[in-house]
């Protein structure tokens, strides 16, 4: 592995509070030097077989992005995505760490599957962090062996997509995960209220003749989970080993408000928001566009605005894509019969920069923090989401000013199910480096 010198770029490392011109040396998979321009130990060295030099003048250099909510579909659903194609999409989108959900076939209930997902044979471009299934076959009945999952590399547990409804099971999951130092991620949806539903409840659903999921179904479960965390936290004397509940893809104003309140009460409750939930509303379903169908669904304008507000004021801890690839033929069916989910890895940075930064004036470093430092810290990815000396050499280099048009057909993902096809993005990824290897090189023009 050649040493890489990134020269003349503008380093933005929110976790280290760095925002300025720096040169960076990556060696042996780690960051070995951060210096003022021209002051690295390589001086004025020329590129060689052992030294790759990236001229980053005019470009932003940042910690590789971290997505804590993706579906890589392997094992078992390779027609939608493979770990190789999903992580290639991640690399193209500037991501160097992805945490993948356990709703594969079979579900990720065991250390064997957890290890299989991380094996070099999968051909991953970037680091894959498996999330274990909280219960066997994500059925919400019998808990998996969390110690074994963690030892194999699982970073959290969840039954994503199949929320744990029974109080007793969720209580056990929280207690056991806490004991093992694992976060619990909940897809908050009271499925007793959402049977047969394919979009958000409200006037639009009524007009389209579709059954709607009430926002209460999300809020209700978030509230229940916070109650269980409160109970458990009271019982836990040590402040070190507090339960961590992470609410996946929050989509409603009340759910974000509940998280805000829980945090004010000193609980370790965090949440993420997906780009589609801070950009789109239920109206984007238009003429029954199955690429605007996901779960949680696109909500009302008021809820969407609450997601933006939550991001701007800091209650939202991370932007996560919920990258959920589906084959074209699976989405080419009646709206109510189409599977939930859209791809997101290749549009997240471009949309976040375009809207959060450019339009809504959020500082670049804060946008990047939501896409790297904060999610990395949330799930304890040590040495990621920052570029201090000794950290992993996970880097994204992009042109923060360049506008480009996202074309789903050009996507590296095996699936093209995105509502953002043809949207203007900002911030073109030029290089993505994962643990010192260049895993993506973007073209200079769009």
């Amino acid at each position: 592995m050649a040493t890489i010198l990134i020269r003349g770029g503008h380093l933005i490392d929110p976790a280290a509070d760095i925002d300025g011109l720096k040169d960076i040396v990556l060696n042996d998979g780690h960051v070995s030097e951060i210096t003022e321009p021209g002051l690295t130990s390589f001086g004025k060295a020329k590129p060689s077989a052992d030294l790759q030099i990236i001229e980053a003048k005019g470009l932003a250099v940042a910690p590789g992005l971290v997505d804590i909510h993706v579906h890589l579909r392997e094992p078992g659903q390779g027609h939608k995505e493979t770990i190789a194609t999903g992580t290639a999409a991640a690399a193209a989108g500037g991501f160097t760490s992805v945490a993948c959900m356990p709703n594969t076939t079979p579900t990720n209930d065991s250390p064997e599957i957890t290890r299989w997902m991380q094996a070099p044979e999968r051909g991953a471009s970037v680091r894959v962090f498996p999330i274990g299934a909280a219960t066997k076959s994500i059925k919400g009945e019998v808990l998996n062996d969390y110690a074994a999952l963690k030892a194999a590399g699982a970073v959290a547990v969840t039954d994503d997509g199949h929320p744990i409804l029974h109080d007793n099971i969720m209580r056990e999951v929280l207690a056991k995960a806490t004991k093992n130092g694992l976060s619990v991620i909940q897809h908050a949806e009271d499925t007793r209220m959402t049977g047969g539903c394919s979009m958000n409840a409200g006037p639009t659903a009524f007009r389209l003749g579709l059954r709607g999921m009430p926002p209460e179904a999300e809020y209700g479960l978030v509230k229940r989970d916070i109650r269980l965390v409160t109970e458990l936290a009271r019982k836990t004397k040590s402040s070190k080993n507090q339960p961590h509940l992470h609410v996946a893809h929050t989509s409603t104003a009340r759910a974000v408000a509940a998280v805000r309140e829980a945090r004010a009460n000193g609980l370790r409750v965090t949440c993420e928001v997906a780009p589609h939930h801070f950009l789109l509303t239920e109206e984007h379903i238009g003429a029954y566009d199955t690429n605007a169908k996901m779960n949680p669904p696109l909500r009302s304008a008021a809820d969407r605005d609450a997601m933006i507000q939550g991001i701007l004021d800091g209650v939202v801890d991370a932007i996560a894509t919920d990258h959920a690839p589906h084959a074209a033929h699976e989405k080419l069916v009646e709206f109510e019969r189409a599977p939930n989910g859209i791809t997101g890895l290749e549009s997240a940075l471009g949309l976040s920069l375009r809207w959060l930064h450019q339009e809504w004036k959020m500082p670049l470093s804060r946008v990047l923090s939501l896409l790297s430092a904060q999610p990395a810290s949330l799930l304890g990815f040590t040495g990621r989401g920052t570029l201090t000396v000794g950290s992993y050499a996970d880097v994204v280099i992009f042109d923060p000013k360049q506008e480009w048009v996202f074309r789903s057909a050009d996507s590296k993902s095996k699936s093209k199910n995105t509502p953002f096809d043809g949207w203007t993005m900002q911030g073109k990824v030029r290089w993505t480096i994962s643990e010192g290897r260049v895993v993506y090189t973007g073209k200079t023009d769009s």
Binding site: G195, G196, G202, P203, T204, F206, R207, L208, G209, L210, R211, F278, L279, L280, T281, E283, H284, I285, G286, A287, Y288, A301, R304, D305, I308, H329, L332, V333, E334, F335, E336, R337, W355, E359, E403, V405, P419, G422, W423, T424, D445, S446
Partner: protein, 345 residues
């Protein structure tokens, strides 16, 4: 390079969406009818005029209009009135029709709507009349086959030909002789729609069409079958829970069947429902003695209305069926003559 023209669907997400769902993108094919919202009032006038012309026309002459043209009826749900009426309409124009229903076809074997549609196109179908249990299915069929599609009822969404035949029925009684409709044609007319609004595509098509001609639409029923948000479907729509009050204001009383097949676990006390919302002779005489009584069918005698009312002098139920054939002749003719055959093959 910076982008010159922003894509159609991109706008500031905080501003209103690029298009409201009430104005779904106009069909790609001008002969399609997927939603009443895509019809302009002049287009409605044309359809009404065409229906009258075709109805009056000598049947042998009429049968030459679409002689040997092929039209497929694709029915994923059972139907008596709509199917027969579309079939008679197409045949009356001389077209060959073929009926594909979800039972006794490859649909049973798991063929998708797209593939069934493409198969019908390859068999020479020039238009498809679709009834489907999923809302929005006609958009998928039109997009994938590029054929004109007539929506004969999609899930709980719309039933546009029913709204047009209901309109024709109302006009025949309330505005006889009117040739063209405009936004004032039904000014002063109040239409109440009572019953299972939630699951009714007939209700949605009527509430989206009639106010555009100046009518006031009152929706009536218990909250399980009529959510308050129904009033937000479009302008000119109100919700009234008291049946007597709704009746008292109505020039037209439209009753709907309770769609047991779509209740999806909803518990409804039928005796209570009848006590509150059944249209019987006493109620009609007391509150709406002059109103026109309509029902899209199928009627369940003794439930949403009594047999006496269905057969009574105010009832236009069978007349609606009659108007259906004329309207559907106009729609079938429009489907095959208005389309530009673009994207074929």
């Amino acid at each position: 390079m910076p982008v010159k023209t922003p894509p159609v669907r991109e706008a500031d997400p905080r501003k209103p969406a690029p298009f409201a769902a009430s104005e779904l993108p106009s069909p790609n094919l001008s002969g399609s009818l997927l939603s009443v919202t895509s019809l302009t009032l002049p287009a409605v006038s044309e359809i009404l005029a065409q229906a009258t012309e075709l109805e009056k026309e000598d049947s042998l002459k009429r049968a030459k209009r679409l002689a040997k043209r092929r039209i497929a009826l694709l029915f994923y749900e059972s139907s008596t009135r709509t199917r027969t009426s579309f079939e008679l309409a197409a045949k009356g124009l001389g077209a060959d029709t073929t009926l594909v229903s979800s039972l006794s076809s490859s649909i049973e074997k798991g063929e998708t709507l797209k593939d069934t549609g493409l198969t019908l196109r390859s068999l020479g179908a020039e238009a498809i009349i679709l009834r489907h249990p999923n809302s929005g299915a006609p958009w998928l069929l039109e997009r994938e086959t590029r054929l004109p599609v007539l929506n004969a009822g999609d899930g709980m969404h719309e039933h546009p030909s029913q709204a047009l035949l209901d309109l024709r029925t109302m006009l025949a009684h309330l505005r006889p002789g009117v040739k063209k409709v405009n936004e004032k044609t039904l000014a002063g007319v109040t239409v109440s729609i009572t019953g299972d609004i939630l699951h009714s595509r007939v209700a949605r098509s009527n509430m989206l069409l009639l106010p555009r001609l100046g009518a006031r639409v009152i929706l009536c029923g218990p909250s399980q079958l009529l959510p308050e948000i129904a009033a937000q479907t479009g302008p000119g729509i109100e919700v009234e829970r008291d049946f007597a009050k709704a009746l008292a204001q109505s020039n037209v009383v439209m009753m709907l069947r309770i769609q047991a097949e779509r209740l999806a676990g909803l518990q409804l006390d039928l005796d209570e429902y009848k006590a509150g919302y059944q249209l019987n002779e006493e109620r009609l005489a007391a509150h709406a003695p002059k109103a026109l009584v309509m029902h899209p069918g199928p009627i369940v005698r003794g439930l949403e209305l009594t047999g006496e009312v269905a057969d009574g002098p105010q009832s236009l139920i069978l007349e609606q069926v009659h108007h259906g054939v004329a309207i559907r002749m106009a729609l079938v003719l429009r489907a095959l003559t208005a389309s530009k055959k673009k994207g074929r093959g």
